[in-house]
């Protein structure tokens, strides 16, 4: 099929075997690329009950359908695995150039299994894929890894993704980095790479990516860019980037501050304007994207692409750190060491509050800059207290107490949105396939940004969240970045233009539902049920003290009722187990349905 490459690369690190196989074409029409294809391969290949850090786990790299073409924001690379942070299926995507490069190297997916005897990297070109020694990179940060590997390969243009010491040391919040500042952030997949002794992948491609009819394709994409992409509505992507979100959240009273003790930040607006007005030097784009959202900044002698909104607040106001330079130093350290800044900020704020409440003293209080700046390295190398922090908030709360303010869902730390002022977001966190994630459904758009829906009710939210999950799943499977809010009709049109298929808007929503159910099937088989689809106690019982959401909590009874409604609308039972009828209706492939039936019958 056009715009796909037709081949999958499989690497078995235990035996050193590298094989190519044909992409399962029948899966492309159902699951597309990126998230969908990654989910399908993972569900095919692994037992969902395995230890995520065992050799049996896989890590799957899948570019999107549009990667390598001239469609903007289509170049991301999804990375799918069983998450060591949550035990759920997880996928996250990384920007930059690496997604397109996988296509140019000739692959729709790169699937890695097993465990190498010593630290290795993969070098992949259309001619060969080799497993090479990487002991010389041990302990190196992702930035040095990028520079050293390029020198070693004598190739400045080779594209690299790598893990830092955090991934090598199996830190549960370790992330995968490309081009220094592009991260697959969440769920600790870098620890899966670390567990496989895989330090990096270097890719160089030169194959053609083709589309159905290139001259009409170019004309149409050019028009779509003018009408739907480079519009005033999207200008935030390159003026301020993600930082605009923080102002909306602050105005809505849901900007997490002091470990979610309040939703109003005294510092965010100042940090935002200091970054854009004083420190910004320019934009950096991902490959092939006209939006160009990356803020390249300099603060004194430190340069950085970022901080993104999530980072600026989670390692900033949420830890009561208010100085931009300090935040930038912390951000850069996390990027280099390979740490997810959302989870890191959440964990640091948690231990700060633990001390404040006298639950346990890790020797750091809110706003303690000196000790704060030492933490990324301690966590990444598991030094001193870092060894426990590396296990995440859930682990700390189970060991020391304070579960009610341990801000995680299923072991994934909550990102920078407080659901007490956006009840739909609460349901989105609870039902997300990988724990507390803001990328699965984002009802905050309606509840807080556009204000078209009452944020303090659960009425209509089950459907709102479901629609959002299907929309994002379709979009992240075909492969369009979060930052282009195109509708499903346009998404279908782009897909048809690239592949020559005949997809409709309805097919897209159905495709999103199909893939969402693959995730649920995996998670049910891994043991997840209704009891896991919940939220930290703080959101249920501790009212926000100030701002527009003052006095609000998520009423637990209503939450549970809405969760039932959510399951019903999905055709799942009261425990959140998908029904065979619905799976058939949404055309999940037969093999999956049979596999799931066998699992249910065994129980």
């Amino acid at each position: 099929m056009k715009s796909y490459m037709g081949k999958v690369l499989r690497v078995e690190l235990s035996s050193g075997k590298v094989v190519e196989e044909k992409t399962k074409e029948e899966w492309l029409n159902k699951y597309y690329g990126q998230k969908g294809l990654g989910f399908r391969y993972l569900l095919e290949d692994i037992d969902p009950t395995i230890d995520p850090l065992s050799a049996e786990n896989e890590i799957i790299f899948t570019p999107g359908v549009f990667a390598g073409t001239i469609i903007s924001s289509g170049g991301k690379l999804a990375i799918t695995s069983k998450s060591p942070a949550t035990g759920t299926i997880t996928d996250g995507s990384v920007g930059g150039s690496i997604g397109a490069e996988v296509k140019y190297a000739g692959y729709d997916a790169i699937i890695i299994k097993g465990k190498a005897e010593h630290l290795v990297y993969l070098y992949i070109t259309p001619n060969k894929a080799e497993i090479r020694d990487a002991e010389f990179l041990r302990g190196k940060g992702t930035h040095q890894t990028d520079f050293i590997l390029k020198k070693k390969l004598k190739d400045e243009e080779v594209k690299i993704i790598s893990i830092g010491p955090a991934g090598e040391n199996l830190v549960k919040i370790a992330c995968i980095t490309s081009e220094l500042y592009r991260q697959q952030g969440r769920g600790g997949i870098a620890a899966v790479m670390g567990s496989k002794n895989l330090k990096a992948i270097a890719i160089k491609g030169w194959k053609d990516v083709t589309v159905s009819n290139i001259s009409s394709f170019l004309r149409a994409v050019g028009e779509i860019n003018k009408k739907h992409l480079l519009t005033p509505d999207n200008s935030w992507t390159n003026s301020d980037g993600t930082l605009v979100f923080g102002d909306f959240m602050n105005d809505g009273g849901i900007l997490p501050t002091r470990n979610f003790q309040t939703g109003v930040s005294p510092t965010y607006k100042r940090l935002h304007s200091e970054m854009i007005d004083k420190r910004k030097k320019g934009n950096k784009a991902c490959f092939g994207c006209a939006l160009g959202c990356g803020n390249y900044i300099q603060v004194d002698n430190i340069d950085l692409e970022g901080p993104e909104y999530e980072t600026l607040n989670m390692v900033g106001g949420n830890c009561e750190i208010s100085d931009l330079k300090t935040i930038v130093q912390f951000n850069k350290a996390c990027d280099d060491l390979g740490l997810d800044t959302i989870s890191t900020g959440n964990i640091v704020a948690y231990i700060m509050e633990m001390r404040e409440r006298g639950i346990h003293d890790f020797g750091i209080s809110f706003g303690d800059v000196e000790n704060y700046l030492k933490l990324p390295e301690k966590i990444a190398y598991r030094k001193g207290i870092g060894n426990e922090l590396a296990e995440g908030v859930r682990f700390l709360s189970e060991k020391y107490g304070g579960k009610e303010f341990a801000m995680h869902v299923k072991g994934l730390e909550v990102p920078s949105y407080d659901p007490r002022g956006s009840w739909g977001m609460g349901l989105a966190y609870a039902t997300s396939d990988r724990g507390a994630c803001h990328m699965r459904a984002f009802p905050i758009t309606e509840e807080v940004i556009e204000k078209t829906v009452d944020p303090f009710t659960f009425e209509g939210k089950a459907k709102l969240v479901i629609d959002g999950q299907h929309y994002n799943t379709a979009k992240f499977s075909i492969g369009i970045c979060d930052f282009w809010a195109l509708d499903l009709n346009l998404l279908a049109r782009l897909l048809n233009m690239a592949t020559g298929s005949n997809t409709t808007e309805e097919d897209m929503a159905k495709g999103g539902e199909r893939i969402w159910n693959l995730g649920r099937i995996f998670n049910v088989m891994a043991g997840f049920r209704r009891k896991d689809d919940t939220l930290p106690e703080r959101f249920f019982s501790e009212p926000l003290p100030e701002g527009p959401a003052k006095g609000k909590v998520l009423p637990k009874k209503e939450f549970e009722k809405t969760l039932s409604e959510y399951y019903q609308l999905r055709g799942w039972d009261e425990e959140g187990v998908p029904s065979k009828e619905r799976l058939q209706e949404i055309e999940v492939d037969k093999e999956v349905i049979e596999k799931f039936e066998r699992y249910l019958n065994r129980r």
Binding site: I70, Y104, F147, V211, G222, A285, G288, A290, Y296, D303
Partner: protein, 132 residues
Amino acid sequence: MKLVLEPEKCTGCKLCELACSAKNESVFNPRKARLKIINRYIEAGREVKGKFCTLCKKCLEVCPTEAITFNGKWLTVDDELCSGCGECVDACPEGIIFLNDEDKAAICNLCEGTPYCVEWCPRKCLKLEVEE
């Protein structure tokens, strides 16, 4: 006339490279583009620069079959005369000439005065400079 880049405005998106390969080779492949944008982090920080035809005409000088001609505005390759020897590829100081799938020299001809790369530049930082 020639291409010029304002590197401080360039995001490094490389849509210009994709547009070039699409228009001239009918595929998406930056290695088949007749210009190159460098956009990367080096140890000293960020590096952005463009490599494109400066009309130095070294390719024309070394061509043994006189396949390359200059009309006062842009270069043209006569595919019938081009032997695919690759002398021009080696001679190009910008490193942006390559042999295409038919083994013919692929050299920027500024799309005969309306460069497609310029049309696709989202920041309008790649421009066609026309001398008075």
